[in-house]
């Protein structure tokens, strides 16, 4: 598998031009396309990009958030109120394959027909918090609110906590990946038909589409007998199936599960003479399935309590049991598996480079684009467009 290419034409999206007009709701989509080798221009106003105010920051005050999500971009300053800028934007649009936007072109009064008149092959992806004509179209929805309305918060947390947001901007990482899919699907379609397309995305709908069991239980409550009506209230780490849970061990926590082979798990407990009544024939009665699973999980929780978390994680995995060690960021940063895969990348910042996440996928013949560009904006947009060959 190829990690980095030595020639720019070996990126999967070499030669593809993307205009990134996105805020936090879709910037991750533009990043995915940029890291796949597309030439991506990001527009910043003369007053600065508000996303540069997102923490964390490095010791020079540079936003690490922005540095990561705006990687591999050519950042150009264009003031939206400037007449010359409007002309330059139209010039860019003529050479653009994919636009990733969060409403900025629409706010400038541009429709798909306007875009099409400039560029008959363009793919325009527009991400909004909600549908454009729905009752919540004007609602403000930062990540916490998006996750609350989208159903993620109700399902996350414990019986003794409030509903919880997911760490970071996960709501917008979901809409962001969907934006990348939309851009790539539109690009593929345009390559075959030569036609322009607009794809609208509601962050709200993207979150609802990624809730695993939540819609299933709402529609098939009889399938999960222990649900409260058609809702399974939040329950800490206990999986909806009752068969996965994080438990406290010595020197850390472990996610334990008897799946996928319950008999194999019982055999392991039996090796240590800890299987108690799990081999009792009464559990052959399928109506006692959930009683049996609860009994097994209780025994496993007691069993793990005195084990060293990391040592036992590796022992379980050596037996092909899918246990998981609960890892913290500092432990991940030193993780031998990621290190051995040369996974981390160097990100350029004003003071040098810092390590950061690499790519979640590798291609046998193409490669991922390392984050070589700084996020310093360019004043001379015409020169940059000329340098990157963005003319049409």
């Amino acid at each position: 598998m190829t990690k980095h290419s030595t020639t720019s034409d070996q990126y999967p999206l070499s030669g593809v031009r993307v205009l990134d007009l996105a805020d936090e709701r879709a910037i991750y989509g533009a990043k995915l396309l940029a890291d796949l080798g597309a030439t991506v221009v990001r527009i910043e106003s003369s007053t600065g990009d508000p996303l540069r105010d997102r923490g964390p920051f490095d010791n020079a005050g540079e936003s690490l958030w922005f540095n990561y999500y705006a990687s591999n971009r050519h950042i150009i300053i264009l003031d939206p109120t400037d007449e010359k800028a409007k002309t330059e934007l139209k010039h860019m649009l003529r050479g653009t394959d994919v636009v990733i936007d969060t409403g900025s072109l629409e706010s400038r009064g541009m429709s798909l027909e306007d875009l099409e008149s400039l560029n008959p092959h363009i793919t325009y992806v527009d991400v909004a918090s909600f549908s454009k004509t729905g009752p919540w179209r004007n609602y403000l929805a930062p990540d916490l609110v998006a996750g609350a309305l989208g159903g993620a918060a109700a399902t996350t947390g414990d019986t003794d906590t409030t509903p919880l947001k997911l760490f970071g901007d996960q709501s917008f990482l979901v809409s962001g990946v969907y934006a990348a899919i939309a851009g790539l699907a539109g690009l593929f379609q345009s390559s075959r038909t030569g036609l322009a397309e607009q794809i609208d995305i509601s962050v709200h709908e993207t979150i609802v589409s990624t809730l695993e069991h939540v819609l299933m239980i709402a529609w098939y409550p009889e399938f999960v007998s222990y649900a409260n009506g058609n809702v399974l209230p939040r329950r800490g780490s206990l999986h909806w199936s009752n068969a996965y849970q994080v438990v406290t061990a010595t020197n850390g926590s472990l996610m334990v599960t008897p799946t996928p082979d319950v008999q194999k798990q019982i055999a392991w407990l039996a090796e240590e003479d800890l299987h108690e009544d799990l081999l009792d024939e009464k559990y052959n009665d399928l109506s006692l399935r959930q009683v049996f699973i609860k009994r097994l999980m209780d025994i496993m929780s007691k069993w793990v309590r005195d084990k060293d978390a990391e040592t036992f994680f590796h022992e379980a995995q050596a037996r092909h049991h899918p246990f998981g060690l609960v890892m913290k960021p500092n432990e991940l940063a030193e993780n031998i598996h990621l290190e051995s895969r040369s996974w981390w990348e160097d990100y350029k910042v004003a003071n040098g480079v810092i390590k950061g996440p690499g790519s979640p996928y590798r291609f046998s013949r193409s490669s991922w684009k390392p984050p070589l560009e700084t996020t310093v904006p360019h004043q001379d947009s015409e020169a940059i467009m000329r340098d990157i060959g963005w003319t049409k």
Binding site: M1, P12, V16, P56, S131, T133, P135, W136, L140, A141, P142, L144, A148, L149, G151, A153, A154, T161, T162, P163, K165, L166, G168, I181, L184, A185, L187, F188, S191, Q198, I199, D200, S202, E205, S209, T210, E212, A218, W219, N230, V231, Y244, V246, T259, Q317, H321, G324, P329, N330, L332, A333, I336, S340, Y347, P357, Y361, R362, F363, S364, R365
Partner: protein
């Protein structure tokens, strides 16, 4: 079927959620997805009559093959030779043992895009480690980081990383498909679900590498940005909450006004976000007193009308039965055809709204072997009598 992927053939060797979610999206986009299944070994998602399976396997045709038979493996190899995309999220090595690993397939089908969505990736000391989504959540930091201070045993309440792996896998496939238009060549893609999960925590890792900080779980507070109030607050009714997420001091001033300017909110210092963060617990307690007897939905509407970001905490029942936004956008739909085992079933649309292309065709999830004849005719040109012979010897079921 219509859509951007019209004419693209996807051969689906996936189970549970991550892989099926990716192929569901490709099917929704118009690809001809053929899912290889076996009733005898259907895996943990419970078979074609299981609601879990039904959720993630629409717009696919199911071919039931006995992969323990030589003829079953040979049919699978012939199907691979016809495929534009082969997708696999079984354990590493399963398809190789069936004789349809990438190195074999590419000899006869060099244009194939072949993705292996494994837990930990091809190489590395943990590459043989087995995982489901809760495993990956634990290992990737998602469990640790989503929780409240002092606890590391909460995490995300659904298999989020499976969805994200399916989404990221789809991105990689579509990138390779676009690349193939130019090169006319296929390639193999290796996706590590663990690395997807770690990527989702990027900012926590950058903070560690740049500053040596290990961020801790912080409930609904933002660990890196200044915002307060920023939490879920109780409202009238059982387990009823409203999320309020202020972003500016102006929003705070408006909130104070809407609360009828109580004395506690007018204290010096609270006009700035830093001052409010210093009084976080006291403010949250006061706001909870204000919200707890109010109707959550009405409170959300009132706050939003005044420019304050607020959202009722919706559960699954709220989403499918009471969400006016989803009702207006027609997000949920009834499948036209009833399911042979479950009867009338509902679905959620692909959340990509194409303005020109008609991408709104949803075929109900199939049951075991439902498309045996059609798939083998369409993909391999087998006659009815040939398929009947294969059914007779149990290769096709």
């Amino acid at each position: 079927m219509t859509g951007p992927l019209d004419g693209i053939k996807v051969l689906d060797f996936t189970h549970v959620l991550a892989g099926p979610f990716s192929t569901r999206i490709m099917g929704d986009l118009g690809a001809d997805v053929v899912k290889i299944m076996s009733e005898a070994r259907h895996g943990p998602d419970g078979g074609t009559g299981s609601p879990y399976h039904v959720m993630w396997n629409r717009n696919k045709r199911i071919l039931q093959l006995d992969m323990t038979q030589t003829e079953g493996k040979e049919l699978a190899r012939e199907l691979c030779n016809q495929a534009d995309i082969v997708i696999d999220n079984f354990s590493v090595g399963v398809l190789d043992r069936w004789g349809i690993g990438y190195d074999t397939i590419k000899k006869e089908n060099p244009a194939v895009i072949y993705i292996q969505m494994s837990g930990m990736g091809d190489e590395g000391p943990w590459s043989s480690y087995v995982s489901f989504a809760p495993t990956v959540h634990a290992l990737s930091g998602l469990t640790y980081l989503t929780g409240v201070p002092g606890r590391e045993d909460i995490g995300i309440g659904f298999s989020y990383n499976d969805h994200q792996s399916g989404l990221h896998g789809t991105v990689a496939i579509l990138a390779a498909l676009n690349e193939r238009l130019k090169s006319q060549k296929g390639q193999r893609i290796e996706l590590s679900q663990f690395e997807v999960g770690v990527t989702l925590n990027a900012v926590a890792l950058l903070d560690y590498f740049a500053n040596g900080n290990t961020v801790s779980p912080s409930g609904n507070q933002l660990p890196f940005d200044s915002a307060q109030p920023h939490n879920c607050y109780p409202t009238a009714g059982e387990d009823s909450w409203v999320a309020i997420a202020l972003q500016t001091d102006e929003q705070w001033n408006m909130l104070v006004k809407l609360m009828d300017s109580p004395e506690w909110a007018l204290k010096s210092g609270l006009e700035s976000v830093d001052g409010r963060i210093a009084q976080l617990e006291a403010i949250d307690s006061e706001i909870s007193e204000w919200t707890k007897h109010q109707n959550g939905k009405e409170l959300m509407e009132m706050l939003q009308e005044h420019g304050i970001p607020a959202g009722y905490v919706q559960n699954g029942n709220d989403l499918v039965n009471n969400d006016p936004e989803l009702q207006a956008s027609g997000f949920f739909f009834d499948y036209q055809e009833t399911h042979p085992l479950l009867g009338k079933i509902r679905g959620d649309r692909l959340p990509l709204r194409f303005k020109r292309q008609n991408v709104s065709s949803y075929n109900r999830p199939e049951i075991f072997g439902e498309s045996n004849h059609k798939v083998l005719k369409d993909w391999l040109g087998l006659s009815q009598s040939e398929v009947e012979r294969l059914e007779h010897i149990g290769t096709v079921k």
